[in-house]
Symmetry: C2
Subunit: 322 residues, 2 copies
């Protein structure tokens, strides 16, 4: 008898998030400190670690880690074995993947805020890393955070080597020139350029979508699921990746800096193409809803039994106010 039935039990997303978020914060804290080299008596790496910690800790919605953990839960439930407790090797491995994605995200913000890029002074309600640690400090902190992401995915023990390879593959592709960095390059070249909707979508598919989708697929890499379910999760990831950006563009014109924790209106002010500038506000709001539906339909048709957390996160992405 197959004991795996589709679970319709309501999930208390708030409680679910609280538990995972606390563990993500603790893990990030321990792993970013843990990256310090051996004692040195003139303090430079200590300053590097400080800048890395500043970039990563005490802020951020941690959406990417939550997506990794939600997808991990979904594929774990398919195995039919009891849920893995947070202390289990499987959870700890998933936590590494969750934190690795967040480190890539954090490094991209550090570099993106630098004077030669967006030249932004406010992030998560605090001075940006280059304001606090100087430009060279921000450059190196970002570089070191990217390397640390791959360090987290390749521990000496506790994660099979083959799994390490799979996770590094997903993360490297999402971060590089055919993912996040490629999208940022398009973004950079798009200031003052009139993009059509297709071009805008392509830019965001790379710039933010690739890493959000990779978060889902890295979580899914912890289990064996059928090919159609894999594709459904990819569709889910693509839809919420795009929805995230559409909502970002909406909030950029409708929210203030205090709510956002970053400079509001900066994309519109910098003459960057946004969904609001291309589609208008009303159609952008409708488009975000449409993408949410696409994400939920993908989950529904995936054949996967336990997708409540992924559903909840999709709703959160579209309904957030910051």
């Amino acid at each position: 008898m197959d004991t795996r039935v589709k679970s319709d039990a309501a999930l208390d997303l708030g409680a679910w998030m609280t538990g995972h978020l606390a563990r993500v914060e603790r893990a990030l804290e321990s792993w970013v400190i843990g990256s310090a080299p051996n004692q040195l008596d003139h303090g430079a790496p200590a300053k590097l670690i400080q800048a890395m910690r500043y970039a990563v800790l005490d802020g951020g919605k941690r959406l990417r880690p939550l997506l990794v953990l939600a997808a991990w839960e979904t594929v774990s439930a398919e195995s039919g074995t009891p849920p893995c407790p947070p202390g289990s090797e499987s959870y700890q491995a998933a936590l590494r993947a969750a934190c690795a994605v967040e480190l890539i995200h954090a490094y991209s913000l550090v570099h993106d805020d630098m004077p030669c890029m967006d030249n932004d002074v406010l992030r998560r309600g605090k001075p940006t890393v280059h304001v606090k640690f100087g430009e060279a400090g921000a450059l190196l902190a970002g570089d070191a955070l990217q390397a640390l992401a791959f360090e987290l995915l390749t521990p000496e023990a506790g994660m099979p080597l083959a799994q390490q390879g799979s996770l590094c593959r997903l993360l490297a592709r999402a971060a590089g020139s055919s993912g996040m960095a490629g999208g940022q390059a398009i973004d950079l070249a798009s200031v003052g350029v009139a993009l059509n909707e297709l071009q805008l979508r392509q830019m965001h598919r790379l710039k933010t979508g690739a890493l959000l989708q990779a978060s889902v697929m890295m979580g899914a890499a912890f289990g064996e699921i059928p090919e159609p379910a894999q594709r459904a999760l990819q569709d889910y990831g693509a839809a919420i990746g795009l929805a995230f950006q559409v909502v970002d563009d909406i909030l950029d014109v409708t929210a203030d800096s205090a709510t956002l924790g970053k400079t509001a209106g900066k994309d519109a002010n910098h003459d960057k193409p946004t969904y609001v500038s291309v589609l208008g506000l009303e159609r952008s709001i409708a488009y975000a809803q449409e993408l949410l539906q696409q994400a939920l339909v993908a989950l529904d048709q995936s054949g996967l039994r336990q997708t409540q957390a992924l559903q909840g996160l999709a709703n959160m992405v579209v309904r957030r106010s910051s």
Copy 2:
């Protein structure tokens, strides 16, 4: 009968290098272009790829790739099977590792040359990347090259996943805060600071030594060799890593910019501590020789049968003129 005898046959290092270098250049060319995303009609990623290519191609001694390939040959010879031809899966995998290390090295130069770091305008005899592509272009090209290094190590086919994990582990640690990026942070904080020899060695052990040593160990990761041989290769890597920097410091004061292909005397002029400033020129030259001997002794005592290429590269590191 063990047919594996210690080979004393002289190696024509020039011929050995010529063959491998041609394959490294072709592979870098194909893999950096290959990282381009799908066709886009407004050219930004094309510009990113251009900047990445500019940073990587047509220059550089390729010492790190050669170390990977030499160590790969050494451990392959231990297996007792016939040498793997360049078309073999094993050679192609080693070539990936060789190019991955070079990409990390290339990205570090791009970021290191930026105005907020060394502010250098000349590299490998050409304008630096930020001079040619702007600061934002250089920042993104460096970021994307780091990600591409991990992409090269994690192909869909042709390399066992477990091996991918091992190689990513070695590279991530060598590149990050307890390796290259950490050493750069110490370097940055050391301008105008009087370091003693121990502190200087620690800085260079991280800044350049970690990646050179990782090159050797990544090549060695393609075979199974006894623990003492592993340690001997680590010692070899540490010795040539340090020797490389000592010779760099010597050349910084004895060679001119045209020979170096980069700005000569810049470290001394920037009031950065160097081996020459700490030990004096004569003792620095003697120290480089001492490190060469350490490297050769380590190989000799490794019990490994075929180490001529590694020996030749150690000699080259110390006797080079640029």
